[in-house]
Symmetry: C2
């Protein structure tokens, strides 16, 4: 197990738990949730099945842990963006920049949030319920920025949905056609439209 700097003060059990979450998060992103088996997680973590089961009852519990962590990360992003600028337009630009910084991964594996949500939207109501809050937190934050720009609540939400949709579409098409160039150009265009 590689030692991470922020795990120095964790108890052994917490370290292992964190290690499982991190490796699973990567596997779920790269291969998808349902395509990732317990054996895959065993191999990636170097731990036994029994040990993983000790920390997480089942695969769903791992997913829950991952989403909880991603939600905290998202809140962290929002906080940073809000502190970096008082101007909502600039904050929306930061959101676009995050996508641009992930261009390689998005080309290869799609949007980390979108592909996971899409995997559960059809016929996995339980997993869908676990994942949706992450999507909703972005929706709410984006809507907040549009509110600050003067839109009423309903309009702000629609604009947030619309932006989410555009970004998801660009990510989906760039992923399907393996075209990073398209992703960058479209996101730059969206960024311009938002900030003008």
């Amino acid at each position: 197990m590689k030692q991470k700097c922020y795990t120095y003060f964790m108890k052994q059990g917490e370290k292992t738990k964190q290690h499982i979450l991190e490796q699973s998060n990567v596997l779920f992103y790269i291969n998808g949730y349902s395509s990732t088996s317990f054996t895959d997680i065993m191999e990636a973590t170097g731990l036994s099945k029994g040990n993983i089961t000790y920390h997480f009852k089942n695969k769903q519990a791992i997913l829950e842990g991952i989403i909880a962590q991603r939600l905290r990360e998202a809140e962290c992003f929002f906080k940073i963006w809000e502190e970096k600028s008082q101007n909502p337009k600039e904050r929306l630009a930061f959101f676009c920049d995050m996508i641009l910084s992930e261009q390689e991964n998005i080309e290869a594996y799609g949007c980390p949030m979108g592909t996971l949500t899409a995997e559960f939207s059809k016929n996995e109501p339980t997993l869908y319920t676990i994942t949706l809050p992450l999507f909703q937190s972005y929706r709410a934050w984006l809507a907040k920025q549009f509110s600050l720009l003067g839109a009423n609540n309903a309009d702000a939400d629609t604009q947030a949905m619309s932006l989410l949709g555009r970004v998801q579409g660009v990510a989906m098409v760039a992923h399907s056609f393996k075209d990073r160039y398209f992703l960058v150009n479209e996101i730059e265009k969206i960024k311009e439209e938002l900030t003008k």
Copy 2:
């Protein structure tokens, strides 16, 4: 087995084959490809596993049959739209109308083409190769319309990708948030932008 009018002149073997394709197509759409088992197809068709295997070597062969059929259907749409109007803008509006007519299904199960493509884009290179041509055929047809509107080849293709992206994004978000109202409004907006 329900008798379909266009199967009257088919041999029994062809009828069965067609029946398997149709039922599997619905299952793959509603539940996804990997979530659909042979048992599901058995139940939906009312046929035995041995019989299905007789007509299609495996699940992948069924998928190939479905994509081939969907490609023919797409070509059929293109032909109709081109015959209905000489104006590329109107043709693009027909494309949008098709999406609007599928609003209920898209809200419930996502875009039939997009969700299938997305399922294979991550780590299913073989199935990805089978599905992509369908996506490409829409890309090519849309690009053709933008060409007719005066764009050079590169621009026309980019505009086609851009439109595909917007539509996929709207479908994805409408599906994730189960919001048909959003889908209709966004597609209407896109339609207006295209035809103005």
